[in-house]
Amino acid sequence: MNHNKRIRTAVIAGLGAASMVALSACSAADTKSSGSADEVTITVPSWVGARANAEVAKKLLEDEVGVKKVELQQLDEPIAWDALNNGKADAILEDWDGQPKKQKLYIDDKKTVVKGGDLGVTGHIGWYVPKYYADKHPEILDYKNLNKFAKDFKSNRSGDKGEFIGAAPSYTTYDEFLIKNHKLNFKIKDTGNEAAQIKEIQRKYAAKEPFISYWWEPLWANADMDMVEVKLPPFEEGCNEPETKTKCGYANTPLQKYFNADFAKDGGDAAEFLKNFKWTTEEQNEVAMSIAKDKMSGEAAAEKWIKDNKATWEKWIPKK
């Protein structure tokens, strides 16, 4: 047993030594990895419209601007901000203004992220009901009357409340607080992700069932469905701070681009191109529709749009 003890001591000493070695690389570590203009990383959040931006930008950057490798990294909106801050990604092409805290921290305090201008698309979030239901019950279109109709929206998971179909986990939403602060008799259903929510709504729409949902524009699925917005108290600057006290509806958000500060400065043509990148809701929807509805690959969808819209994208390419 004595021998065992010696081995044990040696092992423990070895463990200790190993951790000392790990510690003793004792200089301050580098904090930044900076991308070069040869390689551009664009963050892609989970919704299809934003993927349309990224796919088209990637294709054009590679084919027309001459960037060697464009990486599209799947990152949800809030995490994308962290990636922009630490240089793991270079650009966000579509931000819905849902991260006020991170914006302040990274843009104003640490100056690691800079604004990249309008995407050209205006986003709007709201509470929507299908038109066939609103036609029958026009009063529903005012939030004050929602409780009267709550029973129509009951489901097997909402108890005696109405079911409110909620946003995907990473999306900007104040629904929880709106429902609480207006004492609405609704329970939010967590759909888990955008596609699951859209699928659920398409199914209900096809069956002409009543439903009320967190919904937004632009969205490719709106081409096939008639949805009407429920009026919430109007948005005013600062009315959703702190968010737990929110009583107002959602703003119209001109969607924004953001870049890593180093990339914006040293990114050359690639950064220039991404700053110029600006298109309309219809154009974005066209590409999004190809991806989501026709199930084309992102690359094929981008290629198809690029072929037909040279006049639009030519303006984005930096002059040599």
Binding site: A25, I79, A83, R157, A168, P169, S170, K295
Partner: protein, 673 residues
């Protein structure tokens, strides 16, 4: 634990040895009344039911909850602000972060340098070596699996993603393996270390992979380092556990022989104990690799990249066709790695005379030369990336099939209804009543029942753990969210156990069933949890039923396998005796096989519980709601307060479920042996 463990399934006195009830036993009711433990359980249940009926609302009282979210949010903000200025980060964490990142980049660079020809040749040769390095069937079959894996990865156009995943895997497996061996050595050689580490490993095995991610994202930010740390910590325990087991299980005679030859403690460790422990250690490595793969895929949620990426995208666009190539690649890599490491394990047992050290070295040198040659050939041909025209697009046909399934099987099939109808039925008659019952029962009655169950399974220690875990959930203000998750777990678990025991018994009794399902089970057990999610939305919609079905499928293979094994291992003479006494098939099963296999069934129950919980949590991504979606929201929104508290609640549920379903240690070992 010295006394034989009490069972949860059967209310029989735990001290009496398990065995078929003798014919002169009193009636079941009388037996129940004579049994103090059963009485305790019945009494606790009665209290719960009565109090539920009287109060009808059992929510955790508000004045017993504490605000843990605000301080967590403060920590979160502090971390974000100081991550690249504070000394703790600069001199410690960032080194880990940068080292792991450059290691992964280095391996990825090496893989890219080898090119697709080099990588494929290397994989084929390593597998061939694992299979015995000769021209027999096993070696060739393994080489074939390796070749097929990499060819399919290339053809399906996911080569680049696969290399990213492999690079991350190589680094994670290396570090997890090393950490595991060191901890295993400590636990194997020192009783005190074993006493300290054992419960830690036990607990870690219960925790769902998902709950590991958030703390590391907090410390390391999103990206490779966080994934690396979470994966290493998730995957190291099996290596450590089996190393320790191997060291402790070494044949005493061999050690004595070595000692009598005058070997020093170090020599004994190197020449006798470690070589004797090689087999369990390889088994541990195999498990570590599988857990790394599953975690690396899941970790795409926090920016790991690689093969998980298309799957994550596909979940958010419901594009099964997009996920399929990556999914197939993951399955193939899993099968390849599993068979190859298993191959190395079997080599240890080989009766064939081992080659001389020289011959082994020659084989290795030749392999290295061939790999280098292949890499150079690839470079010379200008082909390091998989050629673009060697690619087949399978997404279209797959999406068509999925579309057809959705349209045709969703609802409206006469008599059986269809998958959507089932999903609603499962919610209406399975999950909802359970949830309502759990919420209606006063919190103290839930604690009481859980405590009694814990006591029956593991005496005071388990009872206290269980009660504290539940109290922690309540104190964090997550009582009803947790009961929601718990109701889904229980509903899914019941289905899993019914199906699992039935199929397991069938497999144990009918040889061709066993032969037929074994490869299916093998494959299913290697699949990362993530893979199971996507088809579920298509079939069952976005709701808790979809998550529950995914977890049933995920947990079934383990339950079936353990059940079948347990029943098959019963002493044949017992069965023969019953048969000669004229027992019918049903009687044999009920009175001999099942009672004798009870320890195995208990292990199956425990495994089922742990697996179902981990999957139900991930099910938050497809509409499971409750705690799972809170963790996802916390991860994706960077809302630490929300994510961590939900994560802790999941851990508490894991402890609760594990402890009340855990057979005592001696039962577990007997069944696994």
């Amino acid at each position: 634990m010295s006394a034989a463990p009490a069972s949860v399934l059967e209310k029989k006195d735990g001290v009496s040895p398990p065995g078929p009830p003798s014919s002169d036993a009193p009636g079941p009711l009388a037996a129940l009344l004579r049994n103090p433990k059963a009485m305790a359980l019945v009494a606790a249940l009665l209290v719960a039911v009565v109090s539920a009926l009287v109060t009808a609302n059992g929510a955790w009282p508000a004045d017993l909850t504490f605000d843990v979210r605000s301080p967590l949010d403060d920590i979160n903000t502090w971390m974000a602000q100081n991550r690249d200025t504070h000394p703790v980060f600069l001199y410690f964490l960032l080194h880990i972060s940068n080292t792991s990142e450059s290691a992964v980049d280095g391996v990825l660079g090496a893989l890219e340098g080898l090119g697709f020809i080099g990588v494929t040749v290397a994989a084929v040769l390593v597998s061939w070596y694992a299979g015995g390095a000769n021209l027999r069937r096993r070696a060739l079959a393994l080489a074939g699996i390796a070749f097929g894996t990499f060819a399919v990865i290339g053809v399906l156009d996911v080569w680049e993603e696969a290399m990213e995943t492999l690079a991350l895997m190589v680094v994670c497996v290396a570090v997890a393996g090393l950490v595991g061996v060191l901890l295993g050595l400590a636990a194997g050689l020192s009783d005190r270390a074993e006493r300290i580490l054992r419960p830690v490993f036990d607990t870690m095995q219960v925790l769902p992979a998902f709950s590991y991610l958030l703390p590391f994202v907090l410390m390391f930010d999103v990206g490779t380092p966080a994934v690396f740390m979470a994966t290493v910590i998730y995957a190291a325990p099996p290596m450590a556990r089996l190393t320790s087991l191997g060291l402790r299980g070494a044949d005493a005679a061999a050690l004595e022989a070595s000692r009598s030859l005058g070997a020093s403690a170090w020599q004994r460790l190197w020449t006798a104990r470690l070589p004797l422990a090689r087999k369990p250690m390889l088994l541990g490595l195999n498990q570590t690799i599988m857990m790394c793969l599953s975690m690396v895929v899941l970790a795409t949620v926090v920016g790991a990249g690689g093969l998980g990426d298309p799957i994550f995208t596909a979940i958010s666009t419901l594009d099964v066709g997009l996920a399929a190539p990556a999914g197939i690649a993951i399955v193939l890599i899993a099968v390849w790695l599993d068979r190859t490491t298993a191959g190395f394990g079997e080599r240890v047992d080989d009766a064939a005379p081992a080659r001389s050290a020289f011959a082994t070295r020659v084989v290795w040198a030749a392999m290295a030369a061939v790999i280098a040659g292949a890499a150079v050939l690839g470079q010379a041909l200008g082909r390091t990336e998989w050629p673009e025209n060697w690619v087949i697009d399978i997404s279209q046909p797959i999406n068509e099939v999925v579309g057809w399934i959705e349209r045709e099987l969703g609802s409206g099939i006469p008599v059986i209804g269809g998958t959507l109808t089932w999903a609603n039925g499962f919610i209406d008659y399975g999950i909802n009543p359970l949830f309502d019952a759990l919420l209606a029962t006063p919190w103290w009655a839930v604690l009481l029942v859980a405590g009694v169950l814990g006591y029956l399974a593991g005496r005071w220690r388990a009872a206290i753990t269980v009660v504290l875990a539940l109290a922690a959930i309540g104190a964090m203000g997550l009582w009803s969210r947790s009961m929601d998750t718990l109701s889904q777990v229980i509903a899914a678990l019941v289905v899993t156990l019914i199906l699992g025991f039935a199929i397991g018994v069938l497999a144990a009794r009918v040889a061709w069933v066993e032969r037929g399902i074994r490869p299916v089970l093998d494959t299913m057990q290697t699949l990362p949890a993530f893979i199971y999610l996507i088809p579920m939305i298509a079939l069952f919609g976005s709701n808790p039923a979809a998550a529950a079905v995914a977890s049933v499928i995920y947990a079934l293979p383990a339950v079936i396998r353990i059940t079948a094994q347990g029943i098959r291992q019963i002493d044949p003479s017992a069965l023969e005796a019953a048969r000669s006494l004229g027992a019918s098939t049903g009687q044999q099963l009920r009175q001999v096989q099942l009672p004798l296999a009870r320890p195995a069934l208990l292990v199956a129950l425990n495994q089922g519980v742990v697996l179902v919980l981990s999957m139900v949590v991930i099910g938050g991504m497809i509409g499971g709601g409750a705690l799972g979606v809170d963790v996802v929201r916390g991860l994706t929104k960077g809302d630490l307060g929300l994510g961590l508290t939900a994560g802790i609640a999941i851990v508490c549920l894991g402890l609760l479920l594990d402890r009340i379903s855990q057979p005592g240690a001696d039962v577990k070992e007997r069944a696994l042996r």
